[in-house]
């Protein structure tokens, strides 16, 4: 178990190091997400009643579509120079590769969320300290990173991978995005924990289901 964790960590750290030097994923996702936030906040203004309705949608539109941009890059670095073959040659279960790549994508999207969420809260005149929102973001990001990483591996072998990924990813990720939007709306409205519990449960169930499915099927996705 310790060896498996070491290998997941090795893949994760390799991706972090490469991203730290190129800044390809975080920069593109961040710029896109910020643009979405700014454009929507100007479009809808800052009227409290309007904000309560549209703010959750704005945040999750920024994170979801920004995430798609990021997922498009996750396996491209492995495709170039046939590095995926180098990974496949390693004496590890294919699920180890999936979890290593997932850890990277989750961290990249979460890093973007850490930057854009305070900006989102300021732009929309919302309180800055919302720990429940942080929990929703972590759980929902894990869910759509689980699906996004898997479909990134699927899309990498297709010709129109930039188009293929959102087509594959978005319909599958809809439940977690809808649940995240609903839970975020309840947090912004200042409703108690009990009200958002059902949406949190949906997100957690989604996370578990897709983490298990992706772990099991990843081998068939990457094997020739």
């Amino acid at each position: 178990m310790n060896k498996v964790f070491t290998k997941i960590l090795a893949i994760f750290w390799k991706d972090i190091l490469a991203e730290f030097r190129t800044k390809e994923i975080v920069t593109s996702v961040l710029v896109f997400a910020l643009l979405v936030l700014v454009i929507f906040s100007f479009a809808f203004g800052t009227r409290a009643d309007a904000m309560e309705l549209v703010a959750p949608g704005i945040l999750w539109t920024a994170l979801t579509f920004g995430g798609v941009l990021g997922f498009n890059r996750v396996f491209i670095m492995e495709k170039e120079n046939s590095r995926l073959e180098g990974l496949m040659l390693c004496p590890v279960d294919r699920a180890v590769i999936y979890w290593g790549k997932l850890a990277g994508s989750f961290t990249f999207i979460l890093a973007v969320a850490v930057v854009i969420t305070p900006i989102f809260l300021v732009l929309l005149n919302l309180p800055l300290f919302l720990p429940r929102l942080a929990l929703i973001i972590v759980l929902a990001t894990l869910g759509f990173a689980a699906v996004g990483t898997l479909f990134s591996a699927v899309a990498i072998n297709t010709r129109a991978r930039d188009i293929m990924l959102p087509i594959l990813f978005l319909p599958i990720a809809v439940p977690v995005i809808v649940a995240a939007v609903k839970a975020t709306a309840l947090v912004i409205a200042g409703r108690p924990w009990g009200d958002m519990l059902v949406w949190l449960q949906i997100i957690i169930v989604f996370d578990i289901i897709y983490l298990v499915i992706a772990t099991l099927v990843f081998e068939f996705v990457v094997e020739e």
Partner: protein
């Protein structure tokens, strides 16, 4: 041939290897046995199945039919254990451009559970004479230097079988000479080597035995002592239909 007796005495055993992509056959029933420490060279023009054969032996591609054993282990039964025995050098380096040679080797070392990784990295880097470039990013290196780093990557976990798939493709003559020296320095001991190449002279020099592939089949097989080196070009042309 008595399969039971020979099962564990061969580094590589392949029976009836067939690979098809749709209705196109890349390999058609390849039988192959390579003894431990043997250097086998596979010749053949482009598109005859050399790379497909190497990819099957390295577990990267599953055969449509047939089976492979590496050191007596069936690669389908114990793929991870089989992969530990293999080092692959191809014209792709599998290295990450944005990481240094050291970071690449450290990454692969962890993936292969290489014990005493730091001294091992120093050792393999000295074999390929890249000590002074160890902390340079791979993307900043020439193709020849990258290929030498790739050789270091392939032998880092001390594989008993080294697969070389046209490792000299795209290199200038000087780089080829340096790569040859690097390969010479790592081929010590009982390492089994399977190499594909177009270079007949180089292949005959390295190989203990040679085979020629044509249209997915072995059309010529001989040990070094049996090969008519003077007329090998003619034999190759006849076997592959070149010049007809």
């Amino acid at each position: 041939m008595n399969e039971e007796v020979t099962a564990s005495s061969w580094a590589i055993e392949a029976w009836g290897l067939t690979k098809s992509f749709g209705d196109r056959y890349a390999l058609r029933g390849i039988d192959l046995k390579v003894s431990r420490g043997e250097h086998l060279v596979i010749f053949g023009p482009n598109g005859v199945g050399k790379t497909t054969l190497v990819k099957i032996l390295s577990t990267l591609v599953k055969p449509s039919a047939g089976s492979v054993r590496l050191d007596g282990i069936d690669i389908r039964d114990k793929p991870a254990q089989s992969r530990r025995k293999i080092g692959l050098v191809s014209h792709q380096t599998f290295l990450y451009d944005d990481l240094t040679i050291y970071e690449n080797l450290k990454f692969y070392g962890k993936m292969y559970d290489v014990p005493d990784l730091e001294p091992k990295i120093r050792e393999v880097v000295s074999w390929v004479q890249l000590e002074s470039r160890l902390y340079d990013r791979v993307g900043t290196l020439s193709r020849g230097l990258q290929q030498r780093a790739s050789i270091a990557r392939a032998v880092l976990h001390n594989p008993s079988i080294l697969l070389l798939d046209e490792p000299e493709v795209g290199l200038d003559p000087h780089a080829i000479t340096v790569i040859r020296d690097a390969l010479g320095s790592i081929n010590t001991g009982s390492r089994t080597v399977v190499m594909t190449t177009h270079n007949l002279e180089r292949g005959l020099e390295l190989g203990d035995s040679v085979i020629i592939l044509d249209r997915g089949k072995i059309v010529y097989q001989a040990s070094k002592h049996e090969v008519d080196t003077l007329n090998f070009k003619q034999i190759y042309d006849q076997c592959t239909g070149i010049g007809k």
